[in-house]
């Protein structure tokens, strides 16, 4: 493996993507061979989809055009688009979509930027005792979800939570009721969400460790400062990881429901601010045992998620840089 060319590995700090692109092979026999290998490597997933994923998805799609429910008060029948009409006419659909998007606009940037910044901090040469810090930042990720949530509920309690105890010590006599105040609820939820930061930090750290040090050496030789290095080396090289965080962040935030389910029993309190769209789906499908309507809402969410991710995928060609793509 001595013949790896050195030059292309070290692009200048200001990446020129056209320069990096290699000519395609483009021979049909080779292409067929390549396609065959690609499908061989994909086969475990293809088989798994057929065996375990496809049927439940189709079944739920079928549910949405029937009147299936646990009680089955009326005989099971095909109802066409009745459920979809009900969904479009129900104000709760739009209210809960509004809640989901408002929270997404608030939470998504935090959920992407904070793990990235923490990974940078943990990767910073001025930080002593990195191993310890890395473990400690990871620690809450291991805590079972509900336990962690209850711990935060205790921390944020109006009367006995440590947050308000601290605020009282520094002289704030009437600290807020964090989890019951409609103006503070999204910051509180976003803050609680940061406790699962461990996974995002690991992904970002893995990405940072994958950036060849030659790039930084080159940047240093060019006399680039910290910010220039960040903008011209770190960010482009991290763009595949950021892209991943963005896509999964979108899927996660659109399906957000477990925290309000546990904290508010799914009631949407305070003042309807936590009645997320996926919470409505969960309640319809599981609490109210109304499988057909739940499935209808779920496919609506599927469509919304698909539309958004497709747009993001389109734009990714302009800002995500893959060193090994062709």
């Amino acid at each position: 493996m001595a013949s790896v060319p050195v030059q292309p590995l070290i692009p200048p700090p200001h990446l020129d993507r056209r320069w990096l692109r290699r000519p395609s092979l483009g021979k049909s026999a080779l292409a067929r061979n390549e396609a065959r290998w690609g499908l061989i490597f994909l086969s475990p997933w293809l088989f798994g989809v057929l065996a375990f994923t496809l049927f439940p998805m189709i079944a739920s799609l079928v549910f949405s055009v029937t009147n299936i429910s646990l009680a089955q008060d009326e005989p099971l029948r095909f109802v066409g688009l009745e459920n979809f009409q009900r969904m479009l006419a129900d104000p709760q659909t739009w209210e809960s979509l509004g809640v989901t998007f408002r929270f997404a606009a608030f939470n998504l940037p935090i959920a992407i930027v904070v793990p990235f910044v923490v990974a940078l901090v943990l990767n910073n040469r001025y930080l002593r005792g990195v191993g310890m810090f890395r473990t400690l930042f990871f620690l809450p990720y291991v805590i079972p979800f509900v336990s962690g949530l209850l711990a935060w509920q205790g921390m944020l309690n109006l009367e006995t939570g440590w947050v308000n105890e601290f605020l009282r010590i520094i002289g704030i006599q009437n600290p807020p009721n964090w989890l019951q105040d409609t103006t503070l609820i999204y910051p509180s939820l976003a803050f609680i969400g940061l406790w699962g930061i461990g996974a995002g930090v690991i992904i970002n750290l893995a990405g940072l460790k994958g950036i060849p040090s030659e790039l930084y050496d080159a940047a240093r030789i060019d006399g680039a400062g910290s910010w220039a290095t960040l903008r011209n080396v770190t960010l482009p090289m991290m763009s595949p990881v950021i892209f991943y965080s963005l896509i999964l962040g979108i899927v996660d935030v659109l399906q957000y429901f477990l925290v309000p389910l546990v904290l508010y029993n799914g009631t949407g309190e305070p003042g309807g601010s936590t009645l997320f769209f996926n919470l409505v789906i969960y309640k319809q499908a599981f609490n109210f045992q109304n499988f057909s309507y739940g499935a209808t809402l779920a496919w609506m969410l599927f469509g919304i998620t698909l539309a958004i991710t497709l747009v993001v995928f389109r734009t990714s060609r302009r800002w995500v840089y893959y060193a090994g793509e062709r």
Binding site: N157, N177, N265, Q289
Partner: protein
């Protein structure tokens, strides 16, 4: 009741209870370490076991699904396992398996199993409300009761009627839980107050010597004297600091707004034509009383205080020992020992001249989809009959059978060092709410989101001062009406 079952004295009580509860046929249905003579180890315990030969194709499989309302504790499971093992040994044609799912998850799991066609045969113990979550899924036991000549005369008829619904006779009584006012004697003594009356209809002597009716107004006045802040000022005194309360006077039952209402008067939300939400006036009064208890009178914990594990770490504030009076069901005896050894039971206060003690009842039910209803009924008869003594004790249940109630009282008393006036609870059966507050209403599970445990309005009222309760109640009614209008 957990952990107490291992005490030999109580085990003996199990034995005695079993003997008394099922008409003298002494069966080995006690916890496993009770010495049982080998000769009686495998008696024919079930009514219709027939000849001891296995049917062709092997025994019929019956699945017992547990814990839509208690029964998952290890000590309870030990008793359940033993009950199942004894039944299986005596009935070679039937094989029962037990499936224990913890309360939090039991509802969703049962939904999944039923809808996938993998439902169990028999479910319980389950309360009226818990069963209504699966309305329409229960088997009408009427034909089986007739076919097997099952004797219902041992139960109070009003308790049998609880299970007579539009779906048919869906249950046979097993455990009942009347309500009472739990109170701490020491706190009354410290404040120089007379204890609340133990007999329904008795009056109460106020500190000034006057005799007054034991109604909610009186209870509020007494509760204010029993509500004390850190500076030793009670809630009637000038300078009382509601932000630094050290001891609260009165706690209503706040698991469910309907239950809270039922302590003021019986009713259901579907009492009208079954399609229009009708909130009983007594319930409206109860909810306003609750709201004022928190925000005006300061005799009850606020929502954040109730939710704080530092202030209320043990389900109910009364268990923590710094609440003077608390309305609750008899099943709350499971944790009341934590409150100390100076508690007792008193009569529920009256509202509009009548006392209502909200009522809970648990039993086992057979699912409509069961493929073997006859065998399931055989097992059901056994659970409600020969096995009932051991199970009632394990669950802390009060026997529905009138004849077994004294044994139930003895078993309850055996768990406490202080003598309790259990007659108060027995008298509460007469004051049970009828119709029951947990009776079916349209879109049951969805409606619970508004009034049920952890429901929307309960949370909101406990967390928000300065609400207009008339408006709130109207808003609850409107919101529920919208849900009912959508229901098929």
């Amino acid at each position: 009741m957990t952990a107490r079952l291992s005490r030999p004295g109580v085990l003996f009580a199990v034995f005695a209870l079993v003997a008394s509860a099922c008409g003298g046929s002494a069966t080995p249905l006690s916890a496993s370490n009770v010495p049982v003579s080998t000769s009686s180890a495998v008696p024919s315990v079930a009514p219709s076991s027939g000849p001891a030969t296995v049917a062709p194709g092997g025994p019929v499989e019956i699945r017992w699904y547990c814990c839509l309302g208690g029964g998952e504790a290890p000590e309870q499971k030990t008793v359940e396992d033993k009950v199942v093992a004894d039944f299986n040994a005596a009935n070679p044609n039937i094989h029962v398996t037990l499936e224990v799912v913890t309360y939090d998850q039991a509802n969703g799991q049962l939904t999944t199993e039923i809808q996938s066609g993998n439902g169990p045969d028999i479910v319980g113990p389950v309360g009226i409300g818990g069963a209504n979550a699966f309305h329409g899924k229960w088997l009408d036991l009427g034909p089986l009761i007739t076919k097997n000549n099952y004797d219902l005369s041992g139960f109070p008829s009003n308790v049998v009627d609880i299970y007579k619904l539009d779906e048919g006779q869906v249950g046979i009584p097993f455990a009942i839980y009347p309500s009472a006012l739990f109170y701490k004697k020491g706190m009354f003594e410290e404040a120089g107050l007379k204890e609340p009356p133990h007999k329904y209809g008795d009056q109460y002597q106020m500190p000034d010597g006057s005799m007054v009716d034991w109604n909610y107004d009186t209870a509020r006045k007494v509760a204010q004297l029993l509500t004390v802040d850190k500076n030793n000022k009670d809630a009637t005194q000038a300078g009382f600091d509601p932000k630094k309360i050290a001891q609260w006077g009165l706690e209503l039952q706040r698991d469910d707004l309907r239950g809270m209402g039922a302590y003021f008067g019986p009713g259901t939300l579907a009492s009208g034509d079954g399609k229009t939400v009708a909130i009983p006036d007594a319930w409206k009064a109860a909810w306003k009383y609750y709201y004022n208890s928190i925000w005006t009178d300061h005799i009850s914990l606020t929502g954040p205080q109730f939710e704080s594990k530092d202030i209320n770490p043990k389900d109910y504030p009364f268990f923590n020992g710094n609440t003077a009076m608390s309305e609750n069901f008899l099943w709350s005896t499971y944790g009341v020992a934590d409150a100390g050894d100076d508690w007792d039971l008193a009569a529920i206060p009256t509202y509009n001249g009548a006392a209502t003690a909200a009522f809970n009842a648990d039993t086992f039910r057979i699912l409509k989809d069961s493929k073997h209803p006859d065998e399931a009924f055989t097992f059901l008869s056994y659970l409600l009959g020969d096995a009932s003594g051991a199970l009632l004790l394990a669950y802390g249940g009060f026997p529905a059978r009138t004849a077994a109630q004294q044994a139930g009282i003895d078993a309850l008393q055996a768990q406490f060092t202080n003598p309790i006036d259990w007659q108060v609870a027995v008298d509460g059966i007469e004051h049970a709410d009828k119709p029951n507050f947990e009776d079916f209403m349209p879109a049951y599970n969805e409606s619970l989101g508004l009034v049920g445990s952890g429901g929307k309005y309960l949370t909101k009222w406990g967390n928000t001062a300065g609400l207009d309760m008339d408006k709130e109640i109207q808003s609850l009614q409107d919101e529920m009406q919208k849900i009912w209008d959508k229901a098929p």
